[in-house]
Symmetry: C2
Amino acid sequence: MDRKIVQNISVDCVILGFDSVEINVLLVERTLKNPDTDETIFSDLTLAGYHIFEDEDLDSAAARIVKDRTGLENISLKQFYSFGALDRLLHPNDQSWIKASNVIFSDRVVTIGYYSLLPSTNLEIMQNGNIVNWYPINGLKGLAYDHDVILQKAIEHLRHKFWHEPIGFELLPNKFTISQMQKLYEFILGTRFDKRNFRKKISQMSYVVPLKEKQKGVAHKPAQLFMFSKDIYDKTRKERFDFFV
Amino acid sequence: MDRKIVQNISVDCVILGFDSVEINVLLVERTLKNPDTDETIFSDLTLAGYHIFEDEDLDSAAARIVKDRTGLENISLKQFYSFGALDRLLHPNDQSWIKASNVIFSDRVVTIGYYSLLPSTNLEIMQNGNIVNWYPINGLKGLAYDHDVILQKAIEHLRHKFWHEPIGFELLPNKFTISQMQKLYEFILGTRFDKRNFRKKISQMSYVVPLKEKQKGVAHKPAQLFMFSKDIYDKTRKERFDFFV
């Protein structure tokens, strides 16, 4: 047979953080310099990604890559989709970068996407020689490779999960207000909920537990705090049989 | 750096069919023969899988592999998870097969799992020189490579989706009885539903539409037929806000 097989594979990680106002993604600057003159040829932004070593499985590769690129450790990383479009590395900048990097030898690399949801963007980022920063995802474009596509797919994946599962609580602090929760859900789902209806729905969810605690240190009237109980969610699942509504 | 990167990647497809009694998976016989004596060294079963060619993206590779291995065309194939355990190809049979196949050159191959749900096992399978058959998944073990793990993960993935989304209808005929539906859900979810409660829940689902038609050609009293309306499901989604039950 004449057809060659694809022989490159990597992992890319979409690390999302909710700062109580909007959702941000952690990106690494990629700057290609002329090795002779040290002049910048181009500079753009990538997800935290790299190839997989022969001595590590996929989850270990994702954790190692995030640590190497951003310094973040012990964050929950979940596989969500793999990407292998024919043109995902064909932008001239990507081609120049690949040639300079000496790691891969082909125009085709399949990459496995992971995501992480963090309830804060206030984390210590160790730059490890990289320049790493949070960027609001709203309107973000022009990332390296097909990383616009990967980010978009991660958001779609989350939107889908948000409709069906109580995954939003991973992006909220342990103790949260209903208004924080509504803001997050409206942002991800791209929709608006009526404030009273939203509160009413929440009050019907036995697994969103009201606490005897209120917000502290806010200028406005402090709101009540809630927490999510995964135990109660799991226990009541069969009775609910979620999609049977 | 000393560590080598993984340079092999494939696609494996879990094709599931519901025959109104149980769920079956389509498997391909893998038989290694001694090239000199034509004696069988071993024979076992694999999912439909192969490497990705440089001129195809992941979805195209999955469709091409299913067609090449089983003759099935135009079936819906969805990516669900990728697998890269260090030992997934290390069984002696797998090692012998790999050596004989001359396609890959390493102990590490990362594979991207796809699944397909078919409402019947009564399909024309073109064997293309392969021996392909349906096998009930209950108690199935001893597949080639890590295909036991991939099959198990596909079932877990579906179980999770079944709890949260109306995905079961893909495995049911266009027109189905409530008892077929209950059997399928009990099978996938590994649980039992009380018959009356199950019927009551269904009657609350505006998107499971009763038809003015009954079963034909059955020995017992013919049961009423139903169909699933994706339109109604999507339209009522925001009001339901599924996980807010």
